[in-house]
């Protein structure tokens, strides 16, 4: 099975986020980046499918030069090769624009399966995989926790709300968006890191892909969220704060 995994580099989970001077996006100076969480699970699912059924795992990412390190990380975990769509201003595109770039890169590879994480930890739109399916005229399913290969295609386990699940059968080629937590992530081995250095990462330039990426939806500005509640912060030593909190819960909120 030839599998392409679309991955995204996002700011690290604990990174301190500052808004840029124009109020249009975040200030990226000094930010640390990591592989998006659900994309890591998509990669893991692809690597496990390859171990069971053979084939090839290709990782694909769009973004500026720094994205190269995340692609290398995926190669170190076991992906066979990478495709980097060099795109300096990814955050100016909308979900359709990004998916159009990825689709142009995917098409000539003619994969059996395309996996993407459910949603990115930065923009959180959760649309890339679903739009890719539409652009490539492929069937899809989203919020997938587990993938089984069958005689005719795939049977996948889809998460529904409130603890419900559903199995979906679909033919290949297909697109799946992978939910976090369905598999256990592997770490890159020392050997893997060494091998990754010699694996191919093909560089494509967004400007040369001839994909129409002018946005329909525009992010006008970003701001700190408005507080929904007035929060009483309890300060001092942990002991002081704990005693003050229990007092408040007992006599002010009357819930203890």
């Amino acid at each position: 099975m030839k599998i392409i995994v679309a991955i995204k580099q996002v700011p690290e989970r604990d990174a301190q986020i500052r808004i840029d001077a124009a109020g249009k996006w975040i200030d990226d100076s000094g930010l640390q980046y990591a592989l998006n969480e659900s994309d890591a699970h998509a990669l893991e699912e692809a690597l496990q499918l390859k171990e069971k059924h053979g084939g090839e795992v290709i990782v694909l990412s769009a973004g500026p030069e720094r994205v190269g390190s995340t692609l290398r990380e995926a190669l170190a975990k076991g992906a066979d090769r990478g495709i980097h769509i060099d795109c300096a201003d990814l955050n100016k595109l909308d979900a359709l624009g990004v998916a159009r770039l990825l689709a142009v890169a995917i098409k000539p590879e003619a994969p059996d399966l395309i996996l993407a994480g459910l949603q990115s930890d930065d923009l959180g739109q959760g649309q890339t995989g679903v739009i890719l399916a539409e652009l490539l005229s492929l069937p899809h399913s989203s919020l997938i926790l587990h993938v089984d290969k069958t005689e005719t295609g795939l049977t996948v386990k889809r998460e529904l709300e409130e603890g419900w699940f559903q199995l979906i059968e679909l033919p290949t080629p297909a697109v799946l968006t992978i939910q976090s937590g369905g598999n256990k992530l592997r770490y890159a081995t020392l050997m893997g890191i060494k091998r990754a250095k010699t694996k191919e990462v093909r560089l494509l330039h967004a400007t040369e892909l001839a994909a129409d990426s002018s946005p329909v939806v525009i992010l006008e500005h970003v701001a700190l969220p408005q507080k929904q509640k007035f929060t009483q912060m309890l300060t001092g030593t942990p002991k002081d704060a704990a005693i003050a909190l229990v007092e408040k819960l007992k006599f002010e909120a009357r819930v203890l």
Partner: protein, 323 residues
């Protein structure tokens, strides 16, 4: 162009609460734009749902009916709405932001050359649509540009379901043409995962554990605080994904929704999927090392600090207050 359309979803045969919230969002958008609001219902049999929706202040309710829409598929729903909207030419299409909508609305939008503005929490003059970024640490204002319909999905709890104004709407029927071969996925009946032996939904006091607990060896500390309070122990998704607590203790959109008197969130940053599940709580307390964590936006009381120091102090303070 024909105004604002709200796509209704059902839950167990009734109009879902979040669909009413989307109707309220549609009425808010109507007030800002002067456009009229309509509703669309998809399925094989939609009489009962239609009767419910037609009792609201809407210009029109359309039943989009076809035998192949009996169970949801992305292919079926996309085709049906694509055909319907080709005739109607809407200005705005609003959806409730559910797992089902996330599965097909981006596809429908892309087919029409559009991008969905997903999971919005507010609509302001412009119109500008607010949605969360960076896991709730920032909010972004989005604008639709160009021609063609603007697709929007509305976050659960962002608008009040009871704000949907009553009235009487005209009802009509639309029959899309769908061939069985156009439906490429085959869904099974839905099923439950883990046995549900813990009913967090009716618990009055709940302690929730998140990533900030760092190590499974620290779970007993949280359990000790729960025991001291007489509370149930719950968790955010990553804790259950890691197997540190069973899935039946998961709180949030994919787990249980809770409505306790007191919810004490330990090391939970407050991703929207979790916040959706705790919004019925009467009081929320957050303990987190990051003062910028979104959980503090919904908390009544907060302590910024290290769980390993604060939780033992809390256990002691609770025990002392009970003597």
């Amino acid at each position: 162009m024909s105004g604002i359309w709200v796509v209704i979803e059902d839950r167990d045969g009734r109009v879902s609460r979040i669909s009413w919230e989307a109707v309220a969002a549609g009425q808010k958008l109507a007030a800002l734009t002067g456009l009229s609001v309509h509703a669309a219902i998809l399925g094989a049999h939609t009489e009962l749902l239609t009767a419910e929706v037609a009792a609201k202040a809407l210009s029109q309710v359309v039943r989009i009916e076809h035998p192949l829409l009996d169970s949801y598929t992305a292919d079926g729903f996309t085709l049906a709405l694509q055909q319907f909207f080709a005739a109607e030419k809407p200005d705005y299409v609003l959806f409730p932001h559910t797992y089902q909508v996330r599965d097909y609305a981006p596809k429908l939008a892309a087919r029409l050359g559009q991008t969905l503005i997903g999971d919005i929490t507010a609509i302001n003059d412009g119109p500008l649509f607010t949605r969360q970024l960076m896991q709730g640490r920032l909010s972004g204002s989005y604008r639709h540009s160009g021609n063609g319909p603007c697709f929007v999905s509305v976050q659960a709890g962002a608008f009040r379901a009871d704000a949907a104004q009553p009235g009487t709407a005209a009802i009509s029927l639309f029959s899309p043409s769908i061939e069985p071969s156009q439906i490429r996925t085959r869904p099974s009946e839905r099923f439950r995962g883990a046995a549900q032996t813990v009913d967090l939904g009716s618990a009055q006091l709940i302690v929730g554990v998140g990533r900030g607990i760092k190590d499974p060896a620290n779970i007993p500390l949280a359990q000790e605080l729960a025991t001291a309070l007489g509370a149930e122990l719950g968790a955010s998704r990553p804790i259950c994904d890691n197997g540190w607590l069973p899935a039946e203790r998961q709180i949030g959109s994919s787990g249980q929704a809770i409505a306790p008197k007191l919810y004490l969130a330990l090391g939970i940053s407050g991703a929207i999927q979790h916040l959706v599940g705790i919004k019925g709580s009467q009081y929320i307390v957050a303990v987190n090392k990051d003062p910028g964590a979104p959980i503090f936006e919904v908390a009544d009381y907060g302590i910024v600090g290290d769980l390993m120091e604060v939780v033992p102090a809390l256990i002691e303070a609770v025990k002392a207050s009970r003597q």
